[in-house]
Symmetry: C2
Subunit: 173 residues, 2 copies
Amino acid sequence: MFAELGYERTTIRAVARAAGVDAGLVMHYFDSKDNLFSRAADLPADELPSGGGEEIVEVLLASLSGRLDGEPVASLAVLRSMLTNTDAAERYRAAAEPQLSQITTAIPTEDAALRASLLSAIVHGVIIERYLLRLGRLADASPDQIIELLRPCFQTLAAAEMPPSTVRPASAS
Amino acid sequence: MFAELGYERTTIRAVARAAGVDAGLVMHYFDSKDNLFSRAADLPADELPSGGGEEIVEVLLASLSGRLDGEPVASLAVLRSMLTNTDAAERYRAAAEPQLSQITTAIPTEDAALRASLLSAIVHGVIIERYLLRLGRLADASPDQIIELLRPCFQTLAAAEMPPSTVRPASAS
DNA sequence: TGGGCCGGTCAACAACCGTAGAATGACCAG
DNA sequence: CTGGTCATTCTACGGTTGTTGACCGGCCCA
């Protein structure tokens, strides 16, 4: 319910009703709503395999591919609530920041931190639109198809040089 | 307040207090909380200039660039609430869908709809991380820097052919 | 047989919410 | 002076929320 409704709109009473028990029982096992959310949103740390510098793109794509054909519901609970609940936001930060710095160290350019942030933003944007908003064709496309389309993007973002065929538009005329 | 707290956590009483008036007065001018949100989240349609097929990338980048150095607070209110409030989700859909189909028609490939969805997901992922989550270097990077990094991504996503320099990893060995 | 744990229900509390309506008071037209 | 509109406040209602504590029945152990 946290994954579908977010933190504030899931009530303890509704959770209890869905479980066929009394609300007091939920309070008996989980001491507070915050704690219940903590348990429900407790994800198994999901670390990226610490691939060396150059293969970071494939590591990221493999991770994304896994998430694209079945994101754990605990992660969806965090994602759904992170914009309105400070605990969920904190949890998201705690999960994203080590990955961010890991990606950053794998990128050789000066603006590595920004490139890593962009990669992270893309991943999360895709996950959000696929699972939470279900907008456009992203909701039902096959993971492989998405991965193949994203690969060149990730490569140019993680690479020091831009591929020569991508050209900026003429600034005049 | 909707932009900072989301729909459920901003109360009419808090809005009134912030305005230095009584809650009843807010109800007098805006008839309900839903209506107050509608007014606060009422954005000026924000249409993409209907650029022809090939320049869609630059149109998109220009639009993103504008949003990167000052997203209207009404749009932030919608973004913040869209995961937990159905009205906000509807509003987001209504704003995103025409842009989606516009981008789709500008892309010549068979999987145009999916590519358009990916472009949209990237844009929204970047906006969310910059303004709502304030994670990583995305929060304070200059719009130009972000745009330049994103341009090759957008080009490969909107182009029929992949640039020859982007190579898939060998599947064996 | 008795007594303590344990899963579970019930009723209630205080706080807060959106909302409604009556009351107040200032201002301005006649 | 009067009456009516207007902005504004006050009080209150009904509902929902998280949370609490008393109560109850079955089960196991002595």
